[in-house]
């Protein structure tokens, strides 16, 4: 964008909002757009579970011990797994679960991260150093072993009912909570840095000088301007969360069968590589492609949002 140097600049372009500008810049990114397309395809695939279920009359949990490791056929389009369950259905429903964990845990973590980042950056002082020390401390922990311990906790010892502790919902929400506890740090750091940079700008000083409360300044002036880097950081978090969920479920401390997830479909992976190699390849491939797409999308957004590129 060229700013007018002369006095008589005729505004030929209609004014466009920053968001429309960013959208326009993003549309020009081939990789970012391709990643978005791939993500849409993956989501559509997962959502196709319902029509496929109605059409072929298969479901993801019915076992058939006489039909273990069946090859692809007219009913089981991708064959059956080690318990005779339909692989295609499990891939679709498992994908829904994995994507949902990725989205919910990321959003929950983002709320924590934004709160910590804005509080540290805007209020500053001792609170800032305390919060950032804490963030650094969380970042420095051996994440996976701790996640496994948290995944192994006995929920009844925390006061939940026996019934809830054994339900599928408990398994789902446990993974979400456990990942949220740790994966807010990246967003917090990015938001803090952006807030610090904004805090010294004239429009923020002006808003404060005219008597705007901290809430008002943060909501009206800080958050909208932090949104760019924040969205990028959140997007990149989604990929990490999906990977974490998959490895936890794979190790048996995440999503617990019978609920499928891409991670726990590989639970008895060693047996699968021998008996049915495709079963060991497919769920992992879906995780891999999804995370690649999310990361590419994040990179594309970064370039579209960063005024310094081009």
């Amino acid at each position: 964008m060229s700013a007018g140097v002369g006095m008589a600049v005729v505004a030929t372009d209609a004014p466009i909002s920053p968001w429309r500008l960013r959208l326009r810049r993003f549309r020009r990114q081939r990789m970012g757009m391709a990643a978005l397309g791939l993500l849409v395809l993956i989501v559509l695939f997962c959502l196709a579970a319902w029509p496929v279920q109605a059409w072929l009359g298969v479901d993801p949990t019915t076992t058939d011990l006489l039909g273990r490791f069946d090859p692809p056929g007219p009913v089981h389009l991708l064959g059956t797994d080690d318990a005779g369950r339909d692989v295609l259905m499990r891939l679709m429903v498992g994908g829904q679960v994995s994507l949902l964990v990725g989205l919910i845990a990321t959003l929950a973590g983002a709320v924590v991260g934004v709160a910590v980042g804005v509080a540290a950056g805007y209020l500053g002082g001792r609170l800032d150093s305390a919060l950032m020390r804490f963030t650094d401390g969380v970042l420095a922990l051996p994440l996976l072993p701790l996640l496994i311990v948290l995944g192994a906790l006995d929920l009844t010892k925390l006061g939940f009912s026996q019934e809830f502790a054994r339900s599928g919902a408990a398994g789902f929400w446990r993974v979400v909570v456990v990942i949220t506890l740790f994966d807010w740090t990246a967003v917090a750091r990015v938001v803090r840095a952006a807030t610090l940079a904004l805090k010294g700008r004239e429009f923020v000083t002006s808003a404060r000088a005219s008597g705007g409360s901290a809430w008002y300044v943060v909501l009206a002036h800080i958050l909208p301007n932090v949104a760019g880097p924040m969205i990028v950081a959140i997007t990149l978090t989604v990929g990490r969360v999906i990977l974490l969920e998959s490895v936890l479920s794979f190790l048996g401390y995440g999503i617990v069968p019978p609920t499928p997830s891409w991670g726990n479909m590989l639970n008895n992976a060693q047996e699968l590589t021998i008996q049915a190699p495709m079963l060991a390849v497919l769920p992992g491939l879906f995780i891999f492609l999804t995370v690649i797409a999310v990361n590419l999308l994040g990179d594309g957004l970064r370039q579209a949002f960063d005024p310094r590129t081009e």
């Binding site: 420095a140 922990l141 051996p142 701790l146 496994i148 906790l153 990977l243 490895v247 060693q270 590589t273």
Partner: protein, 317 residues
């Protein structure tokens, strides 16, 4: 230097203390407790006997008191007995530690070498075809689930091609160096490839920045060859941000080791922690987790020290 080091060590010790309490509390929330396990293996035990045992082992005391007792013993080097191995915890940890050291050292060295070479090559011509290829590889490395990569390696190199063993430390009856290395190759490769992706991205970004700097232009203007410019003038400066990332990634690397050891049946520290949580081996899990925390924190302190060495402008006085 020494004052800085001292204050960092104090902080690290404090974090370790807090973490030990948190982990101690968490382990107590895992399913069952030692007395439950005894009752399960001895159906004739009466509730009264169980209560008496609980009192003997101090399990009826409040959490804080139990923790302090454990801490007192731990500081004196007594971390208790492993339930599953029926040996003192430290005796179980020793060999596991050595196994993990081999794996992590191998994976780490390979990842750093790979990322320095590839990241530098990519940075020499940003936007070129090599840059594109390296960036794609790095993206794949960042995005691949480690356990799945291990699975694919087992499928391809162990089952289909039969070049390498699928797991274990050595063949029975054979313990030669070549045999051990053959068993280590796939785990090390898995760990290195899944770690290198992130490193490559940072090396490339740092090198692109540094190669634009004035002192690099000066070096070129003075007639230094490109090789010398890159190695002597650019790389050292580019290392400063890279060292942070590499040191901070130690926790992730340990997580990667846990997965690779589990996948390739290697009796290292990561698999030990995993098995101990799986088998309700409380003392062993506690010690393993704390050790992992300690090493991760220590690597962060080392990163701070490395700054001062790499960049004389940063004074650690």
């Amino acid at each position: 230097m020494s004052r800085f080091l001292l204050s960092r060590l104090w902080q690290t010790l404090l974090v370790l203390l807090v973490m030990s309490f948190v982990i101690y509390g968490l382990i107590g929330l895992m399913p069952g407790d030692p007395i439950d396990l005894m009752m399960a293996s001895n159906p004739g035990m009466t509730p009264e006997a169980a209560a008496r045992l609980r009192a003997i082992y101090g399990l009826d005391q409040p959490l804080l008191l139990r923790y302090l007792h454990w801490l007192q013993a731990a500081v004196q080097g007594d971390l208790g007995y492993s339930r599953v191995h029926a040996r003192p915890v430290l005796e179980v940890m020793g060999p596991a530690l050595w196994q993990t050291t081999k794996l992590m050292l191998g994976g780490f060295t390979l990842a750093v070498l790979l990322s320095l070479v590839l990241g530098t090559l990519a940075a020499l011509r940003p936007g070129g075809w090599l840059d594109g290829a390296v960036s794609t590889l790095a993206l794949a490395g960042v995005s691949v689930p480690v356990f799945w990569l291990a699975l694919i390696f087992i499928l391809v190199f162990a089952q289909t091609l039969r070049w390498l063993p699928a797991g274990g430390v050595s063949n029975v009856g054979d313990g030669s160096l070549a045999d051990v290395l053959r068993h280590l190759l796939l785990p090390v490769l898995t760990l290195a490839l899944s770690t290198a992706g992130q490193f490559v991205r940072y090396v490339r970004a740092a090198m692109v920045d540094v190669l634009r700097m004035d002192h690099v232009r000066t070096a070129r203007a003075k007639g230094a060859g490109e090789g010398r410019v890159v190695r002597a003038h650019a790389l050292r400066n580019a290392m400063i941000p890279v060292v942070t990332v590499v040191a901070l990634s130690f926790g992730t690397l340990f997580g990667g080791a846990l997965i690779t050891e589990t996948m390739f049946a290697q009796p290292g520290l990561g698999k030990m922690i995993y098995d101990s949580i799986l088998g309700n081996d409380y003392n062993l899990a506690l010690a393993g987790l704390l050790f992992a925390t300690l090493v991760t924190l220590a690597s962060n302190v080392l990163a701070d020290l490395a700054y001062g060495w790499l960049d004389p402008r940063i004074s650690l006085a």
